[in-house]
Symmetry: C2
Subunit: 341 residues, 2 copies
């Protein structure tokens, strides 16, 4: 409920409509767990009742240079949703259900309307997960930020029963790797993608992106997908989950592998979406760099026993998310290997 405006401050005078929008957006995220009142120093949220050993899962993150694309496109709400969904996935991989979110918006010469757009996007992401936007901080600091730019970060608070938390330690040889389709770049690889699209290809934000039938803005601002509804129905059958962010498939999947386990990814099991092949060709990027930077169409990987795969796929399909078996766990040494079966 708290929303502070820092000293070097946002000029809120004469922006009553935008202020009202911010207040309304925040109010729509109140949940039965919310406590306290607007204007409090800290936001409050109850731990759900009936838990035996409630454990918090916490993550702080930003959306990186995707904000620069949003600035160029003058579109401020989608990155707010990106931030929330990215954070939801980061704690979902431990089995946690989100209960609260806090944002930090800082920049130089932001208008209150832009801030309201950002907060509305954040609130939309929170509502979709029945999570309270429990607070936030907004600061204008011209001495730090380049004129007209802003940065966006957030912290998510989720909760899980301690003995139900997923750490990857139950992963074993024979488990399958189930890929969940991403919606695009999600929030990673924007420094390289921007260099290719704007510098190498010489495109502007409203141009059509290569042979994709959509504009650069639309493609690059596709919202980071939340896998909460796809995965939660089968969470108890999952041995491990990797959110594919910076570092790509290998860099993230390796983080959850226990000793004695190697992940073998079959690169022929899917065709990366056209966006990725367009970037690769236009940028002259090696397959190794593509794999290290981009998600290549895979937003999340679940590691689970073969017999659990059909239910997991059905749950994802019911949420509108495509999935496929992309490989398996074999005996080996905590590495990820791309290999045809």
């Amino acid at each position: 409920m708290t929303r502070q405006y820092a000293e070097a401050g946002v000029d809120l005078e004469g922006a009553e409509a935008a202020k009202a929008r911010i207040g309304q957006a925040v109010a729509t995220t109140l949940t039965p767990l919310s406590v306290g009142r607007v204007g409090a120093f800290g936001g409050m949220v109850r731990i759900p009742e009936g838990m035996r050993r409630p454990t918090l899962v916490l993550s702080t993150d930003g959306v990186g240079t995707k904000v620069l694309v949003a600035l160029e496109a003058r579109r401020f709400d989608t990155v707010g949703e990106d931030l929330v969904n990215h954070s939801v996935n980061d704690i979902l991989v431990h089995g946690a259900t989100p209960i609260a979110f806090m944002d930090y918006i800082a920049g130089s010469q932001m208008s209150v309307d832009q801030i309201a757009d950002l907060v509305e996007g954040i609130a939309r992401g929170c509502r979709a997960h029945r999570m309270a936007l429990a607070g936030g901080e907004t600061a204008q600091m011209p001495g730090l930020y380049r004129s007209g730019t802003y940065d966006l970060a957030g912290t998510i608070v989720g909760v899980v029963e301690e003995d139900a938390a997923i750490h990857g330690d139950t992963i074993r040889p024979g488990d399958h790797l189930l890929a969940y389709a991403s919606t695009g770049l999600h929030t990673n690889g924007y420094t390289l993608a921007r260099r290719i699209v704007f510098d190498r290809m010489g495109l502007r934000i409203d141009d059509r992106l290569g042979d994709l039938d959509r504009s650069v803005a639309d493609v690059l601002l596709d919202v980071h997908r939340s896998y909460f509804r796809s995965v939660m129905p089968v969470i108890t059958q999952v041995h491990g989950l990797a959110h594919i962010t910076g570092g790509g498939i290998s860099g993230n999947l390796v983080r959850i592998l226990p000793e004695g386990c190697e992940a073998v990814v079959d690169p022929t099991s899917w065709d990366p979406p056209r966006l990725f092949t367009t970037l690769q060709q236009a940028g002259g990027i090696s397959i190794e760099e593509m794999r290290a930077v981009f998600n290549l169409g895979v937003g999340l990987i679940a590691v689970l026993p073969p017999q659990a795969v059909p239910a997991a796929q059905a749950a994802a399909a019911a949420d509108g998310v495509a999935t496929w078996t992309m490989g398996e766990i074999r005996p080996g040494g905590q590495t990820v290997r791309f290999a045809r079966p």
Copy 2:
């Protein structure tokens, strides 16, 4: 335990010593509530056992343009501690005990050594409060941040029994206002203070500040005081607590006043520290603006019944913090008034 480095990334190669310092700093903050392992996607911390209705108190904040003073002084650890202590106070006012902290460090052309200094300062603040540094994000984004600058934000997670949470609703006429001495500007008013010190007074960072016998750097980087140990021993006797940040005494005290209550502050009950009179004289600042921007020597105000004042003062004295009765609550309309008794 998580510490992510964003894509546009911090170059960690060739900085093994600094990396090790970061890892060691984070490891020193592990508490009995910590769960999980390094490299996890989200940090984990248990809710303390034996609580009936555990309620989280959350706050996200930055340190504002104090970072610009730290940059000028090439001193990176103290603002980390500022960030933690500021956050501790923001949830202490609701009666909460901190259990976890997450930081967000973003900038342009930071060295890993500077990041390590920042994280060490944050970890020092966390250790002092037996709170886990449960995660953090570090991002280098030259497109957003002016060259060589960085911003620093953090989120604190504390816990309180729901029926013990302090909201100010038990404040009543006759209660006393107990002032807790600040250590200086804390983290507010730096835009105005920098203008006065560097522009009006023409001082440089290592010059002596006016007739104070200390350098500009030393005075302006005095660490924001945490009142946790001063207040916690008497927390059950407190009716309300206001952390004096941006907006000064009036702007923050008014936030906790219930209907029917006015706070009357006796400005003759203390002499603002010399730093504030120096800034006022050098800047030609009106008393009204001084009161609206600076804490004037008061970092926290406790509202409590007269009979609880001696114990509160004894607890603060045991923690080395000066206190004095600075006014009282009278029947009135949710305002703060400066008036001689």
